[in-house]
Structure formats: C-alpha cells, structure tokens
Amino acid sequence: MDIHVDKDACVGCGLCVKDCPMHVYELQNNVSVAVRPNNCMGCLSCHEICPAQALEHRGIYAARRHYIDIKVCEMLRKVV
C-alpha cells in the first residue's frame, strides 16, 4: 500500500492518528506521516475523517458502492 500525505494540506489535527486501528500514522512536526503503510487494510476511515482531504492511497481495492444513487450523481454532474 502506498499512502501519500499532502504536507501542505495537512493541518496536523491528528484525527487519522487517533482513528486508525493499525497505527499507520504518526504526527511528526505537526504533520501526519504514514509510518506503517503495510499495516493499512484500506478501510479509508482516514479519508472520511480528514478535514483537509490531505490523504491519498494507491493500490487500494475500492469496494462496491451500490448505495450511490446513479440518478442523483447524474444530476450532480450537470451542476458540478
């Protein structure tokens, strides 16, 4: 697993450090660093919790998302 933290975007809140059950992240100089990327099982809780959207995972299995309403997405695409 390759985890990239955008150091410019990270606000150093430490939410990813607290939330990750496998202690993948550590705060170093007020910036989150993925110190144990091989322990990541790809739950993406850190993505959901990160207020700065500073995280990027590469080589991850994206679970099926049946709950996304296709019609709503079609409408959003017209607006966004």
């Binding site: 059950p21 496998m22 099982m41 809780s45 991850i60 299995y61 679970a63 049946h66 709950y67």
Partner: protein, 187 residues
C-alpha cells in the same frame, strides 16, 4: 380513478410472453441497471426495519439479528463440504458469500502467521471489502457496527460452525467506509 389510467395499468402489466412452468430463467431479469430502484427500495426497507427494531428492542435487537444471521449461515453452509481446517472453511465461506460479501484473510506486518495466538485466544483477522450490510447502512445514514452488522456476524459464525464443527465468534475491530476489520475468534 379514471378508466384510462386502469387501462394503462393493464397494458403495462400485459405481454405476449408465453411462460411455461418448465422454463428456468438463465439470466437475471430485468438487467441490473433496471434493478437499481428495487435495490434501493430493499436497502431503504432493511434500514427502516433495523432502525425500528433498535428503537423497540434496544440492545435486544443485536441478539435477534445475530440469531437470524446464524440460522441463515447454518442453513446455507449445510450443503457445503465439511472440513476440519479453518483455512479450507474460510475458502468455502468465501465461495458462499460471493456476490454479497468479499473478504480476505489479513495480518499486521509484525505477525508471522495468519492464525494469531494472543492473550490465550486464537483468532484470524478478516478484512471485509464488499459488504451488502455496509451498503445498506450508508444508504440509510445509519452507524456501522449495529444490529444489521450482527446479521453478518451470525452468518459467518453459523457457516464456520457448520463447515468445521468448531465454535467461533466474530468481533468488530474497526469499521470503515471502504472495508471493515473483523476478528474471527476460534474456540
């Protein structure tokens, strides 16, 4: 209600199709894309049932859904090959759950084997990737790890017990939007 509307309804539900009792449908009908409304309806209904069950039965809701899942697990797995080894049983289970759930056996990097012995208990970490329960909960804005998750727990435990003849327990370690980490404790 106008006669025109009733005629329209009759027309909508009428076709020239000849359906014989021996006809076995070989394809999913209608196509999955057309099933989206049905899928969302089922997810919505399941979410409301679980929410109501929790409101009325409180913590007892977990016991009800766990038991339902366990019965389902036993029921489905009884047609599968019986095995003594947990690894083989998990393989059987993965076939059993295909299409509804997908999972992998997982270990942290500091562990050497997938079967971990710690504090007097033997367990295996399972990472659930695709999960119809998670889909339903997120569709309804419900928390993960509640009564609906207990159906999956019961299902896995029931199936493992049926395949191996060993008692088991499934615990939540972590829930996430893309995957959940569970601990299968073997007894």
């Amino acid at each position: 209600m106008s006669g025109g509307y009733i005629d329209e309804l009759h027309e909508a539900f009428h076709s020239d199709l000849i359906y014989r009792s021996e006809d076995i449908p070989l394809d999913c009908s209608p196509k999955p894309k057309e099933m989206e409304q049905t899928l969302h309806g089922v997810m919505k209904l399941n979410g409301l049932i679980i929410r109501s069950l929790e409101e009325i039965a409180g913590r007892g809701a977990n016991a009800v859904t766990y038991r339902a899942g366990k019965k389902f697990g036993h029921e489905v797995a009884k047609y599968f090959q019986k095995r003594d080894d947990v690894e083989g049983a998990l393989h059987e289970l993965s076939d059993l759950l295909r299409g509804q759930y997908s999972f992998e056996v997982w270990k942290p990097e500091d562990k050497e084997t997938f079967i971990i012995e710690e504090n007097g208990e033997t367990f295996i970490y399972l990472v659930f990737h695709d999960c119809i329960v998670r889909q339903t909960l997120r569709r309804n804005g419900l928390d993960q790890g509640g009564p609906l998750c207990q159906t999956l727990f019961g299902y896995v435990v029931g199936a493992i017990e049926e395949i191996t003849g060993r008692k088991a327990k499934l615990e939540i370690v972590h829930t996430g939007p893309n995957a959940c980490l569970k601990k299968l404790v073997l007894k």
